[in-house]
Amino acid sequence: MKVSASDYLVFDQETKTYREDAEQKVRDDVEKHYWLHVGRTVVKDWRLYIMIVPMFLVFLFWRYFPMYELLGCFKVSDQVLPVSQQLFSGFSYFKRLLVSGDALSVEFWRALRNTFILSFYGLCFGFPVPIILALFFNEVRSNIARSVYQVLTYLPKFLSTVVMTTLIAMLVKQGAITTSYGILSQFLEKLGLISHEVAQAGLLNNPHFFRGIYELSGIWETAGYGSIVYFAAIIAISPTSYEAAQIDGANKMAQMKYVVLPSILSTIVIMLITRIGSLLSIGYEKVLLLYNPNTYVTGDVVSTFAQRYGLQGAAKGIASAAEMMNNVIGMLLVIGANTISRKASNVSLY
């Protein structure tokens, strides 16, 4: 569309003449011929746009295409046909899982509850440990000693889930007639914490111990690494703050309460919100490697439920529906936690 120049004439007070408002003209041109402008910019700056293509494609193919496959939860699942050609089934899988009350539904509710409980215990017991570790690291004045402690406590984070679960399986394994049971079970039995029969049967076969093993190994794995953030916040505290507190007669506990804790509080709040946001994203790999049919009662989570029915079995639609619910609730938690964080402390995580 042709624009007459007169539209952009503005009266200049200084020179007492009319002149063209060039900036406004460019802005309007861009608006009128937006896609032409886009095309020109991309051609002019093609190198920049080439650069983003590989990453875009990787995420599109292997993060967004699966979301399309997820629509299978609304379709009659059929292994032969692709999702686009399957018949629409509405919410039948969701109804079956949530309200039908049959064995599958009971199992799904159990998995959902276990998911919540496992992450909630992780939040209650796993969350404070890194903070405590960081406080203790701060007490170690010798740099060499502290480095040794740090190197050792970060180490488990580098081990793979397979190595960790294999070690656990070996340490608490069941005893056969010819061999004795795992060394950790023996130790616990000596302490009187578990009976001989329980130790002999293997702790991983006992549903009462699944959550404990899961949480303790989680703390073992992540506590040292998780303390890095808090320790960085603690060493950023100026020494003058401590001195001022000491002059005021504050003892160690009072210093903790009035100097250290307020300084790391914002870090704690942020980490807590992140943690709450990821309440439903349990690491399925670890559960999958640790659980067995004996411990489904306490160990089965939604992801492993889906894996069992969708990958080992052929109930892809049911499995997709289960994961859909889990992930939608998870996403709402993330967004909710983020919104609260932004409102409360003006800190947004994303």
Binding site: V38, T41, L48, I52, P54, W62, L70, A232
Partner: protein
């Protein structure tokens, strides 16, 4: 007053040292035990006489592993996946993060959301599995029959790592870039000569994150790699554990060493490379967490 201050401080110090020492021992002990049990004799392992130091020392379990072609196969597969997987992920992440760090990029908000949304919502195991099957079919159609390439190309990208890189690139002063452009540098030269050298520590950290996750990857490799010869080490370890805890399969075990020793030997072999590079990378690791700190 003075005296009381000293006692509380002393008590707190003692508790700190005690707790840290205990925790450190807890972190180290399973690994030491694995080493000891892998080189101890059959009776010592099966009757739990090994507590800390090896007894009735033998190296047969290691020899068995080293003579197993499948073990070396899986080891080289893991090296392959770690090397190419890290290179591929770093290449796509660095290029993408560089473009995202530029304010003049059109649809920048869309691209950022495109990335961050994958951190909020993931499709889940079953849809991902179906999607990988499709990918596999496409790859096979293109003549790539080696499933390792599927693991390298399709898996292990992480939005978080791209964002770490983007933040690092955004912190590079734009004056340096402008100077380089005045000197006639192209976009790729600006990236390789200015941005990459100036954000070395973040790049090292992110490369480390990718490499560790590649070395340790298990689930999808097991799901997608059908050919046994292409299994990475972690899958190999898990399959051995499943085989060795099967009572029927193990009934005929009459070697001079315990079957457990073989598993422990495998674990030791798989963590030795990590232990060797660990002291060098540990300082980057600590830095990376701070780099990944919150954006206000």
């Amino acid at each position: 007053m003075k005296r009381k201050l000293e006692t509380t401080e002393l008590i707190f110090k003692i508790i700190s040292y005690l707790f840290l020492t205990m925790f450190s021992i807890m972190c180290l002990y399973p690994l030491v035990f694995a080493v000891s049990a892998s080189i101890s004799g059959r009776q010592a392992v099966e009757y739990s006489q090994v507590v800390l130091l090896p007894k009735q020392i033998q190296f047969e379990a290691f020899r068995r592993m080293f003579n197993d072609n499948m073990f070396w196969n899986s080891y080289s597969n893991t090296l392959f996946i770690t090397l190419y997987g890290t290179l591929w992920a770093m290449l796509t992440s660095i290029l993408g993060a560089y473009a995202l760090s530029k304010k003049r990029l059109l649809f920048r908000k869309f691209f950022n959301f495109f990335l961050v949304f994958t951190m909020w919502f993931s499709a889940g195991i079953v849809p991902q599995y179906l999607n990988y099957l499709n990918t596999k079919a496409v790859f096979n159609g293109m003549g790539i029959m080696d499933d390792k390439w599927l693991v390298v190309i399709a898996m292990g990208m992480a939005a978080m790592n791209v964002i770490l890189l983007r933040n690092a690139f955004e912190n590079v002063p734009s004056e340096i870039e402008e100077a380089a452009i005045v000197d006639g540098a192209t976009e790729f030269q600006v990236l390789s000569k200015v941005y990459i050298p100036m954000s070395k520590s973040t790049i090292a950290t992110v490369a480390l994150f990718f490499a560790i996750s590649r070395w340790n990857g298990y689930f999808w490799a097991r799901q997608m790699i059908t050919n046994q010869n292409e299994h990475p080490l972690m899958v190999f370890i898990r399959l051995k554990l499943e085989e060795f805890t099967d009572a029927e399969a193990m009934a005929g075990w009459n070697e001079a060493y315990a079957s457990d020793s073989v598993i422990y030997a495998l674990i030791v072999c798989s963590i030795v490379p990590i232990l060797i590079i660990y002291p060098f990378i540990q300082k980057y690791f600590a830095k990376g967490v701070n780099v990944g700190g919150v954006k206000e």
